[in-house]
């Protein structure tokens, strides 16, 4: 049995506001899934390399050249709120 998941803390890290019903259900569901991982986490793999890209390739880097892409208006076209060509958000600090 894995240690109990601190659902409130994980939800805070994920910026997800949960209702108390959701907290209860998700805590139970996630604990069940994490228990299922026990066999994997107990495997002895100390010297194994990690695989991130499935074919082991390094990422392609773009040429350092400017090119035309979105216009300002296009970039803002889906913004919930925009003023004077800028995204608008509530205050970042309390």
């Amino acid at each position: 049995m894995t240690e109990k998941i601190n659902i409130k803390n994980v939800a805070k890290l994920a910026a997800l506001k949960l209702t108390s019903e959701e907290e209860q259900k998700l805590e139970k569901d996630l604990s069940m899934i994490i228990d299922h991982f026990a066999a994997l986490s107990e495997m002895d793999l100390p010297d194994e390399k990690i695989t991130i890209h499935p074919l082991g390739m390094s990422l392609n880097l773009a040429e350092d050249e400017a090119f035309k892409f979105f216009t300002h208006d296009e970039a803002l076209s889906n913004a919930p709120e925009a003023i004077d060509g800028q995204f608008v958000v509530p205050p970042a600090l309390d």
Partner: protein, 484 residues
């Protein structure tokens, strides 16, 4: 005569011989959509108005002999997590219910150049997370073979519309089987290409080291046409592959390995007997079939459900109510973000974001995410070594035939297990194709999956095409549509 189940190359010949016009085919397909859509709900949006002109433009091109290629005038449906400029891309999520894409995905640009007519956008599990389309915020898609059953997922809409004849072909995306599993459930062909051979630019990311766009079609020949039209290096995708020359598997007198671990507990007798039936056919064609053991495939669900949610939790952090998507107001930016995400995401997406956040958090990273990445390396080694002995691997595509709505939605692990056979191809990056081969004892479609080493996609497609012609699966779904 109905044309919607003909191979694309046959349709193209009819167009060229002036025996059929693209506008006539489009009308036929649209009428089919109109009569079946109320039952299956495969499309989230239809582009009918603008398509009439596109189809008549294609008529003109064929009349003048100026056609753009074999896909000119072919109606193709697009999964609604792939961006088409000027149209909604909802990912079947309330979060993006008002999002209009300002750009084309690379695969869309390529298909536009070939004169493809996009029928519309198809339903999926929210953000491609699921195996049944039950997680769509806009209601599930039904299986054309039996509307009381799921079409599979996440590309359930893309598979159902091809099966029902309301598109000639479709594009889906496959992160752990999301093309192949629904293709199997709907009795059509689904192909997941080698990771990186098809650009992911413009596909809304779920798990970037696993996601891959690919075709869902009525036959392998159509899959090959679509795959070769969308593949190719793209500088807009940092993981895009340049062409590489690798040793190709044999097409004749090949050696095929049945994966032992995918023929054991949890796999239905129907699914196993389909693999045995196909193995005998392969042997009768002069191939050799042996059993191979890849022990880590048993661990693939655990590896996948650590890596995919971890990547998902990072990718979906972009949905913060600032640049796009819906917003719920709050007194601070953080309050706005957490309220927006609470309202915009459905239960399965929330669960996976939380699971990924947990696996990446301090104190658990090494035990879970890091361990999964190491196990992924071991799994890759197992497959690489096995492909030194065999040309292809074979398994069931799905552990069972299509299940009923609600049957697995209360048992998350059982739902996750429905991707047991398809996940390994995503973890190791290799191509894999699902082809329908027969019907279960309930009269529902069953498929086998064939896999080959990375970058041998066209050889795999040729091999699958040979097998398909031997299998001669010609059953069609029972759906007839309204009033038929």
């Amino acid at each position: 005569m109905d044309h919607y189940k003909l191979p694309i190359s046959d349709i193209n010949k009819l167009f060229k011989d002036k025996k059929l016009k693209p506008s006539e085919l489009y009308t036929e397909v649209f009428e089919r959509t109109a009569s079946t859509e109320s039952i299956i709900h495969g499309h989230l949006s239809l582009f009918q108005e603008e398509n009439i002109k596109k189809a008549t433009d294609a008529d003109e091109r064929f009349l003048k002999g100026d056609e753009l290629g074999v896909l000119d005038g072919i109606p193709v449906a697009i999964k609604d997590n792939i961006n088409i400029s000027g149209y909604a891309t909802t990912c079947s999520s309330q979060m993006l219910s008002n999002y209009i894409s300002p750009y084309d995905a690379t695969v869309i640009s390529k298909l536009k150049e070939e004169g493809v007519i996009f029928t519309g956008k198809t339903n999926l599990d929210e953000f491609a997370m699921g195996s049944s389309t039950e997680n769509s915020a806009f209601g599930p898609t039904k299986n054309p073979w039996d509307p009381s059953r799921v079409p599979g997922g996440s590309s359930g809409g893309s598979a159902a519309v091809v099966s029902a004849g309301s598109a000639i072909a479709s594009l889906g995306s496959d992160t752990g089987g999301s093309i192949r599993q629904p293709a199997s459930f709907c009795g059509v062909v689904g192909f997941k290409p080698t990771y990186g051979t098809v650009s992911r630019y413009g596909l809304v990311a779920f798990a970037s080291s696993l996601d891959q766009i690919g075709p869902i079609t009525n036959n392998v020949s159509d899959a090959k046409i679509l795959y070769n039209s969308i593949r190719g290096y793209d500088p807009f995708d940092a993981t895009s592959l340049k062409d590489v020359n690798v040793k190709q598997p044999k097409l004749e007198k090949a050696k095929i390995g049945i994966i032992k671990e995918l023929m054991e507990d949890g796999i239905s007798e129907d699914a196993k007997s389909e693999v045995h039936k196909v193995s005998k056919l392969l042997e009768s064609q002069g191939h050799e079939v042996i059993e191979v053991s890849l022990p880590l495939t048993k661990m693939s669900i655990s590896i996948y459900y650590l890596i995919a949610p971890a990547e998902c939790s990072a990718n979906l952090s972009r949905f913060d109510g600032v640049r796009y998507g819906n917003r719920v107001n709050g007194n601070t930016s953080y309050e706005m973000m957490e309220a927006t995400r609470a309202e915009g995401f459905g239960p399965e997406v929330k669960k996976r974001i939380l699971l990924g956040t947990y696996a990446l958090s301090a104190g658990y990273y090494d035990a879970f995410y890091g361990q999964a990445l190491k196990a992924r390396s071991m799994m890759k080694k197992e497959f690489t070594e096995t492909f030194e002995q065999v040309d292809y691997l074979i398994s069931p595509t799905t552990p069972s035939d299509p299940f009923k709505f609600g049957e697995k939605s209360d048992n998350q692990l059982e739902m996750y297990m429905s991707d047991l056979c398809t996940i390994p191809a995503n973890l190791v990056g290799m191509p894999a194709i699902s082809i329908p081969t027969g019907l279960s004892s309930s009269g529902l479609p069953l498929s086998v999956q064939i896999m080959s080493p990375s970058n041998t996609d066209n050889t795999l497609l040729d091999f699958a095409q040979n097998l398909e012609s031997e299998v001669s699966f010609d059953a069609l779904p029972q759906i007839q549509g309204d009033g038929e």
